[in-house]
């Protein structure tokens, strides 16, 4: 049995991500695809299994979700349409929320802007990085 807190966290992650972790058949194709595998403490298939087990705190304590490149290779290739990247994303979001929403504010962007920076990176940065 999961503690109430763990259950709540699990529910939150499932709600944010809209992922059905039970569809996973534990094939490992996601982690076989992941280009950030070596950098991530937990790998995409582990995100799926750990969310299923309610082991969310470990994911929150790890920086794995910030090492993900959001390349969606795992999601693109998963044969069961599980979309692990959305779980990674959900963990990241939950972490940011827990930090009191202290992620990058739009006002702070102009100062940091570099001409070379692609649009997408700015959008991703808003989502990902705390101050």
């Amino acid at each position: 049995m999961l503690h109430e807190n763990e259950r709540d966290l699990r529910e939150t992650i499932l709600r944010i991500s809209a992922v059905d972790v039970r569809k996973c058949m534990k094939c490992g194709k996601c982690s076989g695809s992941c280009p950030a595998y070596e950098q991530m403490e937990y790998h995409p298939h582990q995100f799926v299994a750990m969310v299923d087990n309610g082991d969310i705190q470990a994911l929150l304590d790890s920086d794995a979700s910030f090492k993900c490149l959001t390349c969606y290779a795992c999601t693109e290739r998963c044969p069961r349409d599980v979309r692990p990247a959305r779980l990674v994303e959900a963990v990241r979001l939950l972490k940011i929320r827990k930090q009191g929403q202290n992620h990058l504010k739009p006002d702070a962007i102009p100062a940091k802007l570099e001409a070379e920076l692609p649009q997408q990176a700015i959008v991703a940065a808003l989502r990902k990085y705390s101050k």
Binding site: C27, K29, S31, G32, S33, H45
Partner: protein, 661 residues
């Protein structure tokens, strides 16, 4: 005046649990027309049936309602019971108070009320039943097998062995199917051709079997025992009776760039070709898309070298009709296209091959003469990676949701064969699960690991890409918690299998049903596995679902025994519940003819005499031997002239009224 008896079955506790059967029987006693109503624990048992028979005699019943399980289960049982007691069998109606009532209602009050309503409806119907007589139709003692793979060959051999004539219609120029393309076969590793060829020869030499190759079924009409099938035999441009299979034409043909289908396109063939040395019939065929003579009018070399004078550039398709009592679908499978799986690099490197291509590479009669070399540069490989479940067990929409069942075993086979012949080659197999149920199957796979040192890696490959003259295989090793990047010389993909694409069209012609994956559906998944739900149509081999050769052969024999059981009968009892048109009401609009899926309706000019009419009219007529009683015409007829015997519009309305009252 009808005298109806109602018999409520407990079905042990199946019905008597959620339905108060005594109350149902009691309630029926007050329904007009009912003269007797009772219950019993198992109405279908000997005792139950004799109770019905006794009651029919004692109460001079004219109709019987049995409240029990689905009519699919026991309608026939109780019809026979009534017949034994001297009642017309079609004076029996079943109220389904099990599947439609006790099994779905938890509340006993609701269940009981519904059972009473269903019983009342059945009484209302039986009051309007009329005695019907079943007719008979003759059985044509000849079977058609569609598809000449191992399934079709075995079915045909078994049917012929029982003394019946059987035709095999095979779409390609030779019989043999996929098994002819295999090198060795699991679990015994005997050579595929060595065990298949004798069967192909047996089929060819059996005087009861007619092999119609390079042909397709174009139209099917009729019904069980009496099908009429239109067959198109495509032009080969070679006279089958004259050609000796010497192959002189193939040596001279200048058009050499055709894709060799038998070798999965790994090498080329000439425009005139014999698919493989043991082909049956061993007769050449000209590919009209490739032949210079047929395309440009210039060449004619093969005609000049053919000493048998077999070449005929003017040959045309032959279309003919034949009659059959039974039809067997044995259309087999093909590996899926890998377009949706670009991550495995199939389109990027020649050294990424499918398992069926690998069979050809390993085969002594294949494009490399059985030498294991890389298709790209002909070099001997040192590292080979096999990937299982490519496109199988895939619900993402790219592949197939089912397990293809044979690939775990054939991958173990390939791995073992490579290690046996080339001990210097390292073999790795990526797997999700190793599924090897079957006699001596798991032992076989373990032998690959324990004796042959094949490296099985639990995990899936994420991508394969060429780097220099190597292939990099990036995948998960889940047991060791690693991501691997193996350098391979060749990659073999165990591609999912799917039914032959022509099967769907065929299913429509046969009115046989299919599942969402286009495998033929069996009449009952457990109890009638080789029959289709359409009477007289049987299933053999992979067209019904993935299976290996031992299972295919077993099913082929089972299908044959069902066919033999049918052909052994001289007559079949026909269902008298067929449509009939009321000529006084029919206005000859032709709408019923258009909806009838069996082609049972035709029109006649007829003098109609009735109250106030005397004229010649065009009216519908139903052939009772062809009509299956589906009722499509009765609901279509705008004049209400079509009626189904035993299910008349009046009877159905009476049922509805009884329910709504």
């Amino acid at each position: 005046m009808q005298r109806i008896g109602v018999f409520v079955c407990w079905c042990g506790s199946n019905i008597a649990g959620p339905v108060d059967v005594e109350r149902v029987a009691e309630a029926m006693k007050s329904v007009p027309g009912v003269v007797h109503s009772t219950t019993y624990q198992y109405m279908c048992s000997e005792v139950g049936q004799s109770r019905i028979m006794e009651a029919i005699k004692e109460h001079q019943l004219t109709g019987v309602v049995v409240c029990s399980c689905s009519p699919r289960m026991h309608e026939n049982t109780f019809r026979k019971t009534a017949q034994r007691a001297g009642l017309n069998p079609y004076m029996v109606e079943i109220a389904n108070i099990r599947e439609q009532c006790s099994w779905i209602h938890k509340d006993k009050e609701v269940g009981t009320q519904k059972a009473i309503v269903l019983a009342k409806a059945a009484v209302a119907k039986v009051m309007l039943n009329t005695p019907l007589q079943a007719g008979t139709s003759p059985v044509i003692k000849r079977a058609l097998v569609i598809g000449g793979g191992i399934a079709g060959i075995q079915t045909a051999l078994d049917i012929a062995d029982a003394g019946y004539e059987v035709d095999i219609v095979e779409k390609s120029p030779t019989i043999g199917g996929r098994m002819a393309q295999l090198d060795k076969t699991f679990p015994t590793l005997d050579c595929s051709a060595c065990i298949l060829t004798p069967k192909m020869v047996d089929a060819a030499q059996n005087e009861k079997i007619d092999i119609i190759s390079y042909a397709q079924v174009e139209k099917v009409s009729g019904f069980v025992g009496n099908f009429t099938v239109t067959i198109r035999k495509k032009a080969r441009f070679v006279d089958e009776l004259k050609c000796t299979g010497c192959g002189a034409c193939m040596e001279k043909c200048p058009s050499k760039k055709g894709k060799n289908e038998f070798n999965m396109g790994l090498n080329n063939r000439t425009a005139i070709y014999i698919p493989f040395a043991q082909a049956i019939p061993n007769v050449a065929v000209i590919d009209p898309e490739q032949c210079l003579k047929l395309k440009t009018g210039k060449c004619g070399l093969c005609e000049r070298v053919c000493s048998a004078g077999a070449i005929n550039y003017k040959q045309e398709d032959e279309v003919f009709e034949r009659q059959y009592g039974a039809i067997v679908a044995a259309t087999g499978f093909k590996p899926i296209d890998l377009d949706a799986f670009d991550e495995y690099g199939y389109s990027q490197s020649k050294d990424v091959v499918t398992s069926l291509e690998f069979e050809r590479i390993m085969n002594a009669a294949g494009p490399t003469g059985g030498q294991l070399v890389r298709p790209s540069d002909g070099k001997h490989p040192h590292e080979i990676v096999f990937i299982q479940c490519v496109g199988s067990r895939d619900t993402s929409g790219c592949g197939k949701p089912y397990c293809s069942k044979i690939c775990c075993m054939y991958t173990a086979k390939h791995a073992m064969l490579v290690r046996d012949k080339y001990p210097d080659v390292n073999v790795h197999v990526f797997y999700i699960d190793v599924r090897t149920p079957g006699k001596n199957f798991d032992e076989f796979y373990r032998r690959a690991v324990e004796q042959y040192g094949v490296d099985y890696i639990k995990g899936m490959v994420g991508k394969v890409f060429p780097e220099g003259d190597k292939l990099i295989v990036q995948g998960s090793d889940l047991i060791n918690g690693k991501q691997l990047a193996l350098q391979a010389d060749m990659v073999v993909l165990a591609a999912a299998i799917e039914p032959d694409p022509s099967a769907r069209k065929l299913a429509t012609m046969l009115t046989a049903s299919m599942d969402t994956n286009d495998f033929f559906t069996e009449a009952h998944p457990k109890l009638r596995p080789v029959e289709s739900p359409t009477a007289g149509v049987f299933l053999s081999g992979v067209c019904q679902g993935p299976k290996d050769i031992p299972e295919t052969v077993a099913q082929a024999g089972a299908a044959a025994s069902k066919v033999i059981g049918l052909l052994a009968k001289d007559h079949l009892v026909t269902n008298p519940c067929v449509a009939q048109s009321n000529e006084l009401l029919c206005n000859g609009c032709s709408q019923c003819e258009r909806v009838c899926p069996y082609g049972a309706i035709s029109y006649v000019e007829k003098e109609i005499r009735g109250p106030g009419v005397r004229e010649v009219r065009r009216v519908a007529q139903v052939n009772p031997a062809v009509c299956q009683g589906c009722g499509a015409c009765t609901v279509t007829c705008p004049s209400g002239a079509m009626d189904l015997q035993g299910f008349s519009n009046l009877q159905i309305m009476a049922e509805v009224d009884a329910i709504c009252k």
